[in-house]
């Protein structure tokens, strides 16, 4: 009898959905790098949240906690608020260039080409 092969669930997590993927950047390589970067960014956030959980469990004075305690941890409103604030800062940091491009769009008067300013400084 044929053995039933167990599902390779890790391979299945990343299955491509039916339908062609849109690429937005002129060069698909840029899109690829962005997607990889965001996946890594997510994992950094996960590591940080785990560290935060461990610190908070330690602060409760009991160094004798297990991985199951980490999995069971649920923040109270105060801890959740601090963690959310960290996340907001983190995402603001990662996506800073996008935010600055928007700022440039919103205030073109503050976005004058530096070479043009150099010319002007040569004149005044």
């Amino acid at each position: 009898m044929m053995e039933k092969k167990p599902l390779d669930w890790i391979a299945l997590t990343g299955a491509k959905p039916l339908g062609k993927r849109p690429y937005f950047f002129d060069d698909p390589a840029v899109e690829r790098v962005l997607a990889v970067t965001m996946a890594v960014a997510q994992e950094v956030a996960v590591l940080r949240e785990r560290l935060d959980t461990i610190e908070r469990l330690l602060e409760k004075g009991n160094a004798d906690f297990s991985r199951a305690d980490i999995d069971a941890y649920a923040p109270d409103p105060a801890a959740a608020t601090e963690r959310a604030e960290w996340s907001r800062m983190y995402i603001a940091r990662v996506l800073r260039i996008v935010q600055q491009e928007l700022e440039a769009l919103n205030t073109p008067e503050n976005n004058v080409d530096i070479a043009a300013i150099a010319d002007e400084l040569g004149r005044i």
């Binding site: 997590t13 937005f24 956030a45 949240e49 923040p75 963690r83 996008v98 769009l105």
Partner: protein, 394 residues
Amino acid sequence: MSAWPTPPPYSLVGKHGVSPDFTHDERARFNFLAQLNTHLAAQVVPGNARAYETRVKPAFEAEHGRAPVDRHEVRKAMLRDSYFQTWSALRRSSMELRQQNGREVVLRQLDKLNAKAAALNHQSPQLKLNPDVAIPAYIRKVDFHCMPGGYTTELAADDVSAAANYDIGVFATTGGGLGCFNDGAGLAVAQWMRSRYPDFNPKRILDMGTGAGHTVTAIAQAFPDSEIISVDVAAPMLRFAHARAKSLGVNNITFMQANAENVPLPDADFDVVLTTIFLHETSNLAIRRIMAETHRLLKPGGLSFHLEQPQYAGLPLFEQFMRDWDALYNNEPFWTRMHEMDIEQLMADAGFQRDKMFQDKAEGILDETIFGKPKSDVEDFGRKAAWHLFGVHK
């Protein structure tokens, strides 16, 4: 004010009998995505309008000597803009992360999860599966919202994985916008029915395209004396929806595998026929057949309505274009056509009378202790929990 941050932590998501187990890091992934999606909607999205007004539209006008005439022209021009490209690539990658995260949680415990559902579903007369129901082409051709395998794929016997993945990711995609049980739409519909028809206690209600049962279960809780039939073509969705409802103590819904285009139930069988967040995932011919079924199944004097995002007619072109994003870039291909249809004509073609039609609005209802007071804040073009209701009395 609520003591919880916005979006609230994933640990507050409601548990039911088919909730998968979560590790710490799996919750953290969804926390990250909820924050990222909230950031994209509030901080990044507004720049698209700015880019359009300040450079894309002027460049289009310089080139063509006129403004764009429809959302397709707006899109062609915006697709060349680097700000729109960046936001779109970020949003697409966030959707892909969401799918992989959800599938990780569900697939690593697939057998256990399916067994939980099977135990709740065992020999229930309220779960009527029918493997002979054919899967319509429009859900075989594309995986909606980039959900690999769509609604119907079965990886094992008694599979509920498609629905379980759908269920656990809503909170991350919407930043909690549908509430802890993803039932903000159901609560909104129930409140809308109660306030519009205070003395109406429908005996029989039909819900078509039930999905994971988020909306119908909340409606069933609000109308405990009504007998509700929920149809869907996808067995994994129905198994999950039935098990979830049972575990939440909801017993007045029968879940039935059937195509909404051709429901095997008698004429004039229902006081209410409704769909929620469903019609945009069908097709041009299917939506007409579904409307015809709505008319056939409804009792004279009965009420039918459909909950969707607003129709495009009358919206500014730029907003129409933004609302099309999910249609083209998050695998919702009928969304774009559906939202430009003349829905009154659609209902009239199905045999309904124009003077009995109505259109209305409904906003998602969320638990204030967690989500705070409702605020009409950021527009996420198609994802906001603010819907358009259209319907008719027979």
